[in-house]
Symmetry: C2
Subunit: 411 residues, 2 copies
């Protein structure tokens, strides 16, 4: 007997045929005494369709009423999936986020789960039912429906699994696990059997799109293993957990990620005075712009002026440029340049700290591939290099080949 | 200042354009200090579309999960209408049946309102908001969503109005009031300014389809006036209330109704023994078949045998025939005949009791029009005649002309 939470995304339940298929698969996999909770998203394009309706009546399609509207999407999915189980002879019950005890903060459109009161879910499981829970939604203490923002259904599933002390939370998706690099870019990318929460978080931060960081953080908080696996095959995928259960020493580097959604901003000729960097970055922070890699270099030691280079997400560039040009002109800098034609390539691995050869190997791989490095930054478990955007695939392939030679065993 | 509850049905909110129009109309009608609650149904064909989805996964599309599914329809409408108000600059908030305090029984698909806890609605009104409430739904004490069955949104609106002691509950519909006869049948039909709850209930029972009886009963229970009026015009419609506010003596008969959804069953040659009628009608009651007009007549006094004739709703006929043939054969009756080619025409008026001329005038009008009367039944506030179905329009017109002469003032 095991208590298992399974999450299926919108593409897995896009049609009634797919809903029947999901129900059939869950029953085929279910041991006689297993207790199963299924978290689902809205069917296929439902959320987009609802947003279109909202845009037809208001040019501000967000806030409390948007959550009221969007929450119907998952409510349709859970009702239909519970009916599908019933039609296959399996007792089941659907629960909205509220009914499943998902208590959220009052931040509409980007609510956070503040507690999970799983009493009803547990009672329904004890009554022999499969419990189908609406992902992506919960209710505030004041009785308002909130949605959880991007990746919210994953977070619902992991939080429920954690609160109920489930054996595992299975995330069914259109990829069959977490790879050592994006398989669309690197054919030789390997599926990992295991990866730590911290590695997964760092990979997500650095461009891997398999799982939303909030769900991984939730898993880390509760210590519940997250099994990322394919909706379309029965194979095992990748298990995200606190530490490896098997020794996999040969790969200190666990993954190579890349992120093309990056822009570089350079402020040239900045006076080298205390408080200058603070002015620049607090102005950006006030505009809610996240700054990633930051490098300050000496432009002219005699004149005491520096260059400051940093990266941001591409959509933030127009606003950031405006802010920096204003701040820069106040400070009398030589100029501001921006470049969207950049990308970030990174290596991630929990065991990297204390392995100084990693950085050298990465830079060597890039040099051998003729890829120029513009900016470098490091964290305890990652090293990132900014490269020209049109070189990013070659960069990923070269680095991956260096750390995952073809004749080595899979991780 | 007045507290007003307004209800708009699915055809009034079928598109986002119509939702904007409803919001605009409500604001145009709203006095500066009026407190307004709007109850809406699901948009247009939404409910049918959801039922189609359910039928694709199960051949039993009812029960708890069906209510979970259908309740999303109103939730979409309320969110969009609240957004429409906001886009017109009017603060508004949408509430599901549960959030609006509509407590229901656990009978899925045909829940009944057992209490209305309007605290949150009142608080939102006090905060200056228009409150948009999902009709047709509520929540059980156990936390399950139930729908209210046919006419459920009217019932929600009237119950809320009653619980909050509203000045009036306005039901916006595609007709502009309650008429002295169906205007599609009788061109000279008059719109009534007022009608009593009891008259409206009797007219609904006898075929008028303007309002569901449960909503009228709810109005009577709370004593809240119900104003039936058109979505498409600004004119006043008909107010349903306990008693007339104006003397309207000239029309003792308030309405002429007809119902073609009727079938006649005759049991011929029934032995005249105590308990026979009980056997017949208890068998029908067990099958949940409502019996309407009942007449027992002596067939042969010497042999002590009678005929029993009664009417039922046409959809019940196949089952009723089967039951009656079984019971009849046990009792040794001469035969059972059925006739679907019948219709019921009725006159309704609270002041009829004690006006013996009404029945004579009705029968005279039918005789003059050459319409044969098959069965007659009376209640305290109505008289009904069963006639051949192909004569029903002539019958209604003739009776209406007798009681509402063209030169008289409107009621």
């Amino acid at each position: 007997m095991a208590l298992i939470v399974k999450k299926f995304g919108g593409s897995s339940v896009a049609t009634t045929e797919k809903i029947m298929a999901v129900a059939g698969r869950i029953l085929a996999d279910k041991g006689p005494d297993d207790k199963v909770v299924v978290v689902v998203s809205a069917m296929g394009d439902t959320t987009d369709d609802l947003i279109k309706l909202a845009k037809a009546v208001t040019d501000k399609p967000y806030g409390r009423e948007m959550d009221m509207l969007l929450a119907t999407g998952e409510q349709v999915s859970i009702a239909l999936l519970a009916m599908a189980f019933a039609s296959l002879g399996q007792p089941a019950v659907s629960l909205t986020g509220f009914q499943a005890g998902i208590a959220t903060t009052g931040a509409f459109n980007k609510g956070k789960i503040r507690a999970v009161k799983a009493e009803r879910v547990l009672a329904e499981l004890d009554a022999g039912k499969i419990v189908v829970v609406a992902g992506f939604q919960g209710m505030t203490a004041g009785g308002d429906i909130t949605t959880l923002g991007r990746g919210g259904s994953d977070t619902t599933a992991v939080a429920l699994a954690g609160a109920m002390n489930a054996a595992v939370c299975e995330i069914f998706t259109d990829v069959d696990g977490v790879y050592s690099a994006d398989p669309r870019v690197v054919k030789a990318a390997r599926r990992m059997r295991e990866i730590t929460y911290n590695e997964m978080l760092e990979m997500a931060r650095l461009g891997a799109v398999v799982m939303q960081p909030r769900a991984v953080e939730m898993g880390k908080h509760y210590g519940v293993p997250i099994h990322v696996r394919s909706t379309f095959t029965r194979e095992s995928g990748t298990i995200i957990r606190e530490a490896y259960t098997v020794e996999e020493k040969e790969f200190t580097v666990r993954g190579v990620t890349h992120d093309a959604n990056v822009a570089k901003v350079a402020i040239l000729g900045v006076p080298d005075r205390p408080g200058i960097a603070f002015k620049v970055f607090s102005a950006l922070a006030q505009a809610n712009i996240d700054v990633d890699m930051i490098v300050q270099s000496i432009r002219n030691a005699d004149k005491n002026i520096n260059d400051i280079v940093f990266t941001i997400a591409q959509p933030d560039l127009p606003l950031a440029k405006q802010i920096i040009e204003k701040v820069g002109s106040d400070m009398g800098v030589l100029g501001v340049t921006v470049d969207e034609n950049v990308a970030k390539v990174s290596v991630v691995g929990a065991g990297m700290y204390g392995s100084p050869g990693i950085a050298a190997a990465m830079f060597g791989a890039l040099a051998d591939a003729g890829v120029n490095i513009e900016v470098i930054s490091t964290s305890e478990i990652s090293i990132s290099c900014l490269v020209q955007a049109d070189k990013v695939k070659e960069a990923v392939a070269a680095i991956h080949a260096r750390f995952f030679p073809d004749n080595a065993n899979g991780g």
